[in-house]
Each structure stands twice: as structure tokens, then as C-alpha cells.
Amino acid sequence: MKYSYYPGCSLEKNAASYHESTMAIAGPLGLDFVEVEDWNCCGATEYHALNQTAAYALIARNLAQATKNEGLDTLVAPCSACYLNLRKCDKYMATEPELAGRVSQALAEAGLSYKGGTLHVRHLLDIVYNDVGLETLQAKTTRPLKGLRVAPYYGCMIVRPGFHNGDDDPEYPVTLDRILTALGAELVDFPMKAHCCGGHMTQISEATGFELIRRLIKSADDYEADLIVTICPMCQLNLDGFQGAMNRHFGTSYHIPVLYFTQLIGLALGLAPRDLGVGSEIVSAKEALSKIGAEVEEAEVATPRQRRDDKALPMPGRRGEG
């Protein structure tokens, strides 16, 4: 399975471990990524605040560059912010004629063009879940993540409206949960799984930014998670990089490491931690990862302890489970 690949700026340096681990698992999982030639920054959320046409022209240049990878009509982005930008741009190029007209004119200045709908923009999580599949992941697992309590964290931008690929729920997504379960990890029913990490808020209003980070870390801690698993470099940077500053701000002492889902897949596949960029996190994952070993056992989603006795009333049936 061969795809165009758009790493995005974060994966160059601060989230290099995300890139490394993605490349490391690609081979074993049968994925082949062809990097988009001379890609540029997607503008994150910042350009939208300044100039709409320029924001979409900047993104569209990447889409145009990606069409140069002949025969590849799927563009994969591992960063959720890049993914949303690319996907939204692709959609608007087809549905917003005025905006698309302006963007096309701008692109033409560099001899480029892009027609909405040409590429299928997908997030790496979607590729792993739908194209690789749980069965393959399970079959290739040689070091099950048994005993590791993980909080699956999706963040905002992959699951939200109109732009995401399919059927994962924007409020209560489950694809990452299922991947981690397939790898043998013990899941916590993380209520904050789709809540916001704060994005750039630490730079705008520290108090606000730290509070958003605290909510997530506290909830993971309440659920006694060993680590948080993320799919986005911005989320990783906020939860990992700012965890210490957040602790100082609130006088707390949380210690929850934050790893990329590709790193956990790599570990389950039996790859060496250093080949997956493990060790570059600020909050050490050493202790948490020391738990991994031993034989495969079916992991279940753990919920907070609950009293149940004869008088207990039945729970309403949960749909779409299993």
C-alpha cells in the first residue's frame, strides 16, 4: 500500500519521534510512504486568523505538490492540524467556488493548480485502522502491551465535523481504542479522549493553556493510566512538554508520559525503543514501559470502580461495541 506522505513541520524536529516511529512501522505493516516534494508549512491555525485566501493558497500548494506523486491519489498526514487543513482545503476547493477561484489564481502564479477532490486526504490513524487493520496488527504483535494502562487521546482535529473520513464518532471515537486493544494494552475509558489540549493557548494565555492541559492529565491520572497515547504532535507537545510547567502553575505533581500511537505499535511489533524515538519525551516513559512483557491476554476497557450488587439496575445496551 503506497501513499503520498505529508510530514508537516512538527515532524521535522519536535515530533521527530513520530516521524521515526511511523517510518519504522511502515515496513513491517506493508506501508510505503512517498514524501511530498518540497512541501511547505500548512499554516496551522494561525494563517486563518490573518488572511483567508493566503491561508488556503498556502495549504493548496501542498495539495498541488502532492499531485506530482504520480499514481498516488491518497495523501497521508500524521499531524492532526495538518490533516484538517489539507482536508478542509480539498473540500472548499470543490464546494466554495469564490474562495477556490482566488486560490487557483494565486497558485497559477507558480504554475500550479489543484482541483478539489483530486486527492483523498487521510490521517495516519485512519490508514492504520482501515488499511492495515486490527487483524494484521494483532498477528504481527510479538511484544503485547499487556499490563500497560493507556489513555487513548484523539484530540480535536481528526474527529471533528465534516472533514473526517468516516464513521468514527466526533464525541466518542473508538478507532484508537481498538488499535491499542489489539496490541494487548489495557484501555481506560478516558472521558477526555476527544477534548482539547489547548493548541497554541500556552502562548496566548498561560492560565488558560495550563488549565486545558491539567484537565487532561488529571483525568488520565484519576483513571490510573500509565501513559497517554496521542496521534498529534501539538497534543504531544502540550501534554508532555508543558506538563512540568503546568505542575508548577497548579502546585501538582502529575507524571504521565505521552507517547505516539506509532511508538506503541512499534513496541508491540518488537522494535527497539530507540528506533522509535522513545526517550525523546520530556516526561519519562521509562517506568511505564518497564511494565510491558509476557503473553497475550484479551484487554478490556476499564472503567472506574463501581459498586454492584443484587439491587443494581441493568445498564442500557451499548451500541456499536466490540
Binding site: 488529571k218 484519576d222 439496575l313 441493568p314 445498564m315 442500557p316 451499548r318
Partner: protein, 674 residues
């Protein structure tokens, strides 16, 4: 001989005259359209004076055709047909042009509107000349009625008819009649015990000599037409012989298999594999749930059979079929409750102490799974604080755009019951409080006085992720208090979700079965939203209760009675007129290719082997005209919608295009002097 056509243009007050130059239009028709001998305009053509105008002209001027340019034929076609008939003209020689719905109400330029009106009148005149005399036939009305759905609406309809001496077949899908109302604890705003007021009506139905109650049964197929429907009913196998069962209940007592009761107890309680939904069920006979029964699953047990004193258990019983002849049908099929797992942000199904409205209803009921105690999911703890969330799946484009009409009042009722039973602090999170009926606003006042707290803001989410002190171990309801303009986190012990009322999941199939239509949202469509709320476009099929749209108990009961009254009028009159709009095959042109045979959904076309031609049974034909369009030999004609009539209408409508030889594309404001 040339026809004499009279053209009548209605002002409809200013409804048409405000946008169309009605006087000019009438003058233009009189001066320019062939065969038009009289052309008049009048303030209200549908008034008795307007009708008399037409009648007089028919008599005095010897009109042979009439065109009325007024409103939609769906409103007044019958009126003007009658006027023609009164004057001795065959009513099918009248044609209407919809100047109001298709022109004046949808246009914004008077010149262009008037031009369009000329085209429509021209089309109608050309068409009416081709129209032929037709004669409606009369058919008797069978005095028996089929009522589908045994909730309070169907019960009311059935009793009204039966008390008037007419026979009713009442078909109910569940093992007992009673519907949703039987599940409720109290009714708002009077706080009557729901079961106490419903069960007497249920037993009246069970004992009424004019009602044949068919429970655990469904309508399989309906054929025929108004006054003469044939319905095939499938009676599902109860596995209990009704003739022998005394309803003693020993079988239920002895049955060792307990399953969650998803229907009557809303999943909050249990029932046996052989069961009666509730003690006052009508009829009293139990049913074996074959998917749960140990005998059907494993081949052993038969405890019920062993203990039954009258040998009424019959494991081999099969579904049986009943063919009924009825004159009219009343559909009172009710609603489904919204499945709140579709809004994961409210945690239903994931967070134990989030309850559905139906669960809470059962919890309040003294005969329910908690003996009427309001408790958390652990079955023992009394909540100290309860949040009631309004508009769950209502007023939401992603789910149901409409207001479910009853939830605000039900939430107030819940608030009252919760305060009374637990003394808990009760919060209501609402978008708009809607209490628009007799004594409803007063009930709202009462709850305000009782200390229920109202927060104006739709709940954003319900979570167990504690963020602030005091939130640990609670459910936190996150909202914006829109009146205070602040975000609010309200920690509570219990959350109750006021789920929407939704059309039955199979409402569209039901509609198709009875030949009626559904609105976009899936509610059955009434004949007229204001003036004909219980009739449908299909004569003889009536709708009542929530299947037509969300409404509360008194409105449902009123509709049930209204539908019954409509049926009684049909029965009393005794006959119905059958529209002569049917297809006819001209044998001399029929090649016997049989293309039409399978096109007819009503099997009205049969092939006559001896003659080698096809034949339309007029009693079965509904006049859709598909066969007419399909016949390669043009051997089929459709009465009142013949090829000639439609060709002429096209010619008339495009009068300004043909005359100009393609140059008539620009709409000239005054092509012909008015």
C-alpha cells in the same frame, strides 16, 4: 362543433389580484384564446356568488367547458366541479389553473406574473377542450373499521366507533394494548395516575362486543379502496391457546427464565420468558418469547406446560392469518423513543447514572422495577441532586429538527415526582420552556415554587471527569447558563435525558402499505395541516395521535375521537363516489406484448389468453397512468389524463413560444394588448 369555453379568473381578495392583473388577464383570454366565449374575473370565485356566476353562464351561454383560474385544484376542484354539475355540465369538463399557489404567491414581478398567468390559462383552455365526460361510480361502504395501534389513541377511536354500534378490528403489535401511556406513572399537569385512568378504557376494549381485539398481530397487506378494503392480519404465535387460557399467571410464576424487559420496563427491569407485559394487560393471555425461552433454545424445560391447569400452552403454535373486509382504516401507530446513545456526549449507556426518560418513568411507577423509588443505578442510593436535560435529539438538525412537544411538561412532571420522592435538588436544563395548553403554564409556576431550578442552556456534555473540588464521584453537567452568560458545571448524582419522540422505525413501510405518505421527518402526512388533520390523501385511511406528529395525551385522544367521527360519517352515508380516473385498453390496438402487465403495482392488468390482449380491471386501477405511458402501441388511454389532453396543455402553455417561431424567448411584459 366548436366548444364554448368559459374562463373565470379569481381575485382571491388580493391574494391573486395583488400580483396578477386579473382584469387584464380575463380580457386577454376573451379576446385572444380560441373557443373562449365568456371570460370574467371575480373577487372570490369559490363564494356562492362566484359559483352562481359560473352556473348562470353555463345555462345562459350554453358553455360546454369551464376553466377556473384560482387556487390549487387540491383546494377547490371539488367546489367548481359541483358548480358545473349543478348547472348540468359534466364535472370533468372543468379545468383549474393554479394562479395563486403557482404564480401570485411565488412571484415578485407583476408583469412577469401576469405573463405566466396567460400561459397557464392558455394551457387550461386548450386542455379542457380535449376533456371528456366522465362518470363517477358509487360503491357501498363496509361498516366495519380497522384500527391499527392499541395505544390510548387507538383505544379511543375504537371505543367511539364500537359505542356507536359499529364493529372494529383493533390490531396491536405488542401482546397487550395500552401503548406508551400504560408505561407512564403520572400524567401532566393533573398528576393523575396514568394507569388508573387508562386501564378502565383498556378493559372496555377487551370486553366490548363490537371490538375484535387482535393483539400480538400486525397488518400484512392491504388492498382495495375506500369503503372496500381487504386487510390480511398476521397473528403471531403466542404459544398459548387463547381459548383455553384463564390468565391465572401460574406459567409466569413457574417460568425459570428471567430476561431484561426492553419494551415495557424500558430495559430497567426484568420479565420472564413467558410473560404478560404488565398485570392489567388486555388481553390477559401471556406470550412466550421464543428467543428467550429455554425450551425453544435448548429443547427442555416446559415448566409452564407442566403447571398450566388448563393445558393452554402450545409450543407448536404457528402464526395464523386473518382476512378482514373493512370500509375504513384508522392508523394510530404512535412513536418510538429516541435512543440517547446517539448523543455520546451525554454518556447514556456509558455513565451508569444517566437515565432515559422512559427509564425514569418506570422508576417512578409504584409497580415498576424499583417499586416507585427513585434510586441510582446501584438500586439503593437515593440521589441528592438530579439534572433533567431537555431537547435530547429534538430541535437538532443532526437528529430531529422538530420540537417533540411533550418533553418540557414531562420534565416538569419528573421534577415534581423527584422532589416529592427524594427531596433532591432538581435542575432543568432547557432551551425554551414550552407550556402552551390549559393549566400547563400554571404547572410550570408550581414547579418554580417547589424549588426546581431552571437553567436556560442546552447541555453541552455530561462527564465523570472531575475538574474542580466537589466534582469527584459526581456526574458533571456542563452548560452555558445563557441568562447569566456564564459557563456552568453542575455536579449531580443523576441525569435524566428527555429523549425525542420519533416516528416508528417502520413508519415508511406502514405508510406504503396503506398508500399514504410521510413528511420529511417521517410523520404521516395529513390531508390538510389546518383543516383536515386526521384524513389523508388516501380516501378511507385516517391518522390519529403521535403517528401524525408529536402531541400529548389529550390531543391524541381528541384526534382518535375525530378520526372515529370521520369514519362514522362515511358509514352513515353508506356509499362513496369512485373517481373515474382509470386506464382503459383499446383491444383493437393492443398487440398483446404484455409490457404493461407487470408495470401495474396493483395487478389491475391481466392478459386475456383467448383474445391475446391485455385488460384493465377498473376497480383495481388507481389511475397512475404508468401503463399509458409505457404502451408501445398507444393502445391504453388514461381517462382525464389522455395523451391528447396533455399534448394540448403543452401547446397551450407554450402558446407564446410557438407563435413566435422560437423568437418568443423573451418574456414581453405586454405581448398582446390586455
Amino acid at each position: 362543433m366548436a366548444e364554448k369555453v368559459g374562463v373565470y379568473i379569481c381575485h382571491c381578495g388580493s391574494n391573486i389580484a395583488g400580483m396578477v392583473d386579473v382584469e387584464g388577464l380575463a380580457r386577454w383570454a376573451g379576446a385572444n384564446l380560441e373557443d373562449v366565449t365568456v371570460a370574467r374575473d371575480y373577487k372570490f370565485m369559490c363564494s356562492s356568488l362566484g359559483q352562481e356566476l359560473i352556473e348562470e353562464d353555463i345555462k345562459k351561454e350554453g358553455l360546454t367547458r369551464v376553466v377556473v383560474g384560482a387556487c390549487s385544484p387540491h383546494l377547490h376542484e371539488k367546489t367548481f366541479r359541483k358548480a358545473c354539475a349543478n348547472a348540468g355540465l359534466n364535472p370533468y369538463l372543468m379545468q383549474m389553473a393554479s394562479l395563486r399557489e403557482q404564480i401570485s404567491w411565488v412571484s415578485s414581478d407583476k408583469d412577469k406574473a401576469t405573463e405566466k398567468a396567460k400561459a397557464l390559462i392558455s394551457g387550461a383552455v386548450r386542455r379542457v377542450i380535449e376533456q371528456e365526460e366522465l362518470f363517477a361510480s358509487e360503491a357501498p361502504v363496509n361498516p366495519n373499521t380497522l384500527v391499527v395501534g392499541g395505544g390510548v389513541t387507538g383505544i379511543q377511536a375504537a371505543l367511539e366507533l364500537a359505542d356507536a354500534g359499529y364493529h372494529v378490528y383493533l390490531v396491536e403489535r405488542e401482546p397487550s394494548i395500552g401503548g406508551h401511556m400504560a408505561q407512564f406513572d403520572k400524567t401532566f399537569p393533573t398528576l393523575d395516575c396514568s394507569a388508573c385512568i387508562l386501564t378502565p378504557k383498556m378493559s372496555d376494549v377487551g370486553q366490548h362486543e363490537s371490538i375484535t381485539l387482535l393483539s400480538y398481530a400486525e397488518v400484512e397487506e392491504v388492498t382495495g379502496y375506500v369503503g372496500n378494503f381487504h386487510a390480511r392480519i398476521r397473528k403471531r404465535a403466542r404459544s398459548v391457546k387463547e381459548a383455553d387460557c384463564t390468565g391465572c399467571g401460574v406459567c409466569i410464576e413457574k417460568c425459570p427464565k428471567k430476561v431484561i424487559d426492553d419494551v415495557f420496563e424500558a430495559g430497567l427491569g426484568y420479565r420472564k420468558a413467558i410473560y404478560r407485559p404488565f398485570p392489567q394487560a388486555v388481553p390477559k393471555y401471556p406470550v412466550i418469547d421464543r428467543e428467550a425461552c429455554t425450551y425453544y433454545l435448548k429443547g427442555t424445560c416446559k415448566a409452564c406446560e407442566k403447571f398450566c391447569p388448563t393445558n393452554a400452552i402450545d409450543f407448536e403454535q404457528q402464526d395464523s392469518f386473518l382476512d378482514l373486509d373493512v370500509g375504513n382504516v384508522i392508523l394510530a401507530t404512535g412513536f418510538d423513543m429516541f435512543d440517547s446513545t446517539r448523543l455520546p456526549q451525554y454518556g447514556y449507556g456509558r455513565l451508569a447514572n444517566v437515565f432515559s426518560n422512559l427509564e425514569f418513568e418506570r422508576m417512578c411507577n409504584a409497580a415498576g422495577p424499583t417499586d416507585g423509588k427513585v434510586v441510582l443505578r446501584d438500586g439503593v442510593t437515593t440521589p441528592e441532586s438530579i439534572a433533567i436535560v431537555h431537547c435530547v435529539g429534538s430541535r437538532d438538525k443532526k437528529h430531529n429538527p422538530y420540537c417533540s412537544a411533550v418533553c418540557c411538561m414531562a420534565a416538569l412532571k419528573f421534577g415534581h415526582l423527584a422532589i416529592e420522592k427524594t427531596g433532591a435538588q432538581v435542575y432543568s436544563f432547557y432551551i425554551d420552556m414550552r407550556t402552551p395548553h390549559k393549566n400547563y403554564e400554571e404547572f410550570y409556576d408550581r414547579l418554580l415554587a417547589e424549588g426546581m431550578q431552571f437553567v436556560r442552556g442546552r447541555v453541552a456534555e455530561v462527564t465523570d471527569a472531575a475538574r474542580l473540588p466537589g466534582e469527584e464521584g459526581k456526574l458533571i453537567v456542563q452548560s452555558e447558563d445563557t441568562l447569566a452568560g456564564r459557563q456552568r458545571r453542575t455536579p449531580v448524582d443523576m441525569v435524566v435525558l428527555m429523549g425525542a419522540l420519533e416516528p416508528r422505525h417502520d413508519a415508511r413501510e406502514t405508510a406504503l402499505k396503506f398508500g399514504i405518505s410521510c413528511s420529511m421527518n417521517g410523520w404521516f402526512t395529513e390531508r390538510h395541516p389546518k383543516l383536515d388533520p386526521v384524513a389523508t390523501m388516501t380516501d378511507g385511511v385516517f391518522i390519529a395521535g403521535v403517528c401524525q406528529g408529536p402531541k400529548d395525551i389529550p390531543d391524541s385522544v381528541a384526534q382518535g375521537a375525530a378520526a372515529a367521527a370521520r369514519v362514522m360519517a362515511m358509514i352513515t352515508k353508506g356509499t362513496v363516489l369512485i373517481e373515474p380516473v382509470v386506464a382503459t385498453i383499446h383491444e383493437e390496438n393492443c398487440s398483446g406484448c404484455r409490457i404493461c402487465n407487470n408495470l401495474c403495482p396493483y395487478n389491475a392488468i391481466t392478459f386475456l389468453e383467448d383474445k391475446g390482449v391485455s385488460y384493465v380491471n377498473a376497480a383495481l386501477c388507481k389511475g397512475c397512468g404508468t401503463c399509458v405511458a409505457a404502451c408501445p402501441a398507444q393502445a391504453i388511454s388514461g381517462a382525464h389524463f389522455s395523451n391528447e389532453q396533455i399534448f394540448s396543455e403543452i401547446e397551450g402553455l407554450l402558446y407564446d413560444a410557438i407563435s413566435g417561431n422560437g423568437a418568443g424567448h423573451k418574456v414581453e411584459p405586454a405581448g398582446v394588448p390586455a
